[in-house]
Symmetry: C2
Subunit: 264 residues, 2 copies
């Protein structure tokens, strides 16, 4: 039995309504191309594309865009050599690339969140799943213990932490990707009574400044920023496992890229 | 000779046209209040406000907003205890707080950039000042040497680096604040032929992903993210020096806050 890219896309989007402005799209690629192999990844980076080619996969399912932007290609890249070389490689390879962003976030619960909770081995601690966050009661730990636990579980080299490292925490709010901004993260402290927010990425002048003020007022609140890719890659790894189980005749690989940053 | 808050505000904004939607505003405060002392800061945090009070200053000039948002107060804060305690302190103190963001960025050259270049002792290396970036030719250094130099000069504990640490660089593009996004930062590599971009903050899926791809393609490009406050606080320190020289009868202090994040 063979599957086309269109069948996989329809399977992934089944029952999910995405906004009219969705970024989720097969581009490049044709819906009727037969899938030889699938690579899932946080981002369709040069490395991921080359890995897909060498694995014999002709279909990449990527969470973030190919060209360094949430919304399509920036005009400023038109003559950029990095863009041109990457575009040429993609065109020559005949790869289909499906951006799978809005749809997986609209799964109930959010598919990216499910992957992160599985990777953290915390799925049994969830007390509430909300559209943009999960609320957990974890075994009591200090903030620095949570940070070290996360680093070990996700195999990441660093996290950024706001608040007192020795603060004990039990009630935790988690937000993946760029949901670490004030509008989504700050209300969790009051409305959900969390001690600690764990997020992917967000503006530095919002949630971290709030936590700094809270701590200076003598309140017990903390924030751990994982990094955007670090918070969402586990969701794409989980997706590879799910697809592999659903379509055992198709080779499915998750490709993990190197972190964008190192700390000096 | 005495000065009112309105006179200082007019002095700071003299000859600068800001957009109709500017966030720059004296709020709270009255234009005709006599200035007893000025505190400049990156952010009017709880700590900065308490420092201003204990220094006897009644006027804070802050680059970022008071309540964890670029645009005024988020509705979600209305019942938040951190917000309420901070608001009460500000009201009780009688402080005037002037948001000085769009105006200083429209100085020619950008006043925040001038402060950062002074702090780095790199102002003599500037070859081009643009509205959102400065282009420099610095004495040749490896990326890791640049990172260590910056950390020492700005007294910051870490920077985030994308690219090869041993890459030599000479031509550098600098962007302060949240100008590290792809639309402003990426074109500097092609159009200005920079080896290295140094920025405050920006989305992780934009410029850092571009640099990761470029390096994987074998190109010599790198990125150092300083942190938002780390890149803009020197501008507010510089402002304090300038105001102090212009108005010697007014006590002017720059208050440096603790970094929002530590690395674990």
């Amino acid at each position: 039995m063979t599957m086309t890219m269109g069948q996989i896309v329809n399977h992934l989007a089944k029952g999910i309504s995405t906004p009219n402005t969705t970024v989720d799209l097969l581009n490049p690629g044709y819906l009727d191309t037969e899938v030889q192999g699938i690579v899932t990844a946080f981002s369709a980076s040069q490395y991921v594309i080359e890995q897909a080619i060498s694995l014999g996969a002709n279909f990449i399912i990527t969470h973030e865009g190919i060209f360094y932007s949430h919304q399509g290609m920036q005009e400023c890249l038109r003559h950029d050599p990095v863009f041109l070389q990457k575009s040429r490689l993609i065109a020559d390879s005949g790869l289909g690339i499906y951006r799978f962003h809005d749809t997986i976030h609209r799964y109930q619960p959010d598919g990216v969140m499910v992957g992160l909770l599985q990777a953290l081995d915390w799925h049994t601690y969830v007390v509430k799943q909300q559209p943009t966050s999960a609320i957990l009661t974890i075994p009591a730990m200090e903030v620095k213990e949570v940070a070290e636990y996360i680093k070990a579980k996700l195999h990441i080299r660093y996290v950024r932490v706001a608040g007192e490292l020795s603060m004990p925490c039990e009630r935790v709010g988690i937000l993946v990707g760029y949901r670490g901004g004030g509008d989504l993260a700050i209300p969790l402290f009051l409305n959900e009574n969390v001690d600690l927010v764990i997020a992917g990425e967000g503006p530095e002048w919002e949630t971290p400044e709030y936590v700094k003020d809270a701590v200076y007022q003598g309140r017990s609140k903390a924030l751990i920023m994982l990094g955007h890719a670090e918070s969402e890659a586990p969701g794409m790894k989980y997706l590879a496992d799910v697809l592999s189980a659903q379509f055992p005749m198709i080779p499915v690989h998750f490709v993990e890229d190197r972190p964008v940053f190192q700390i000096l």
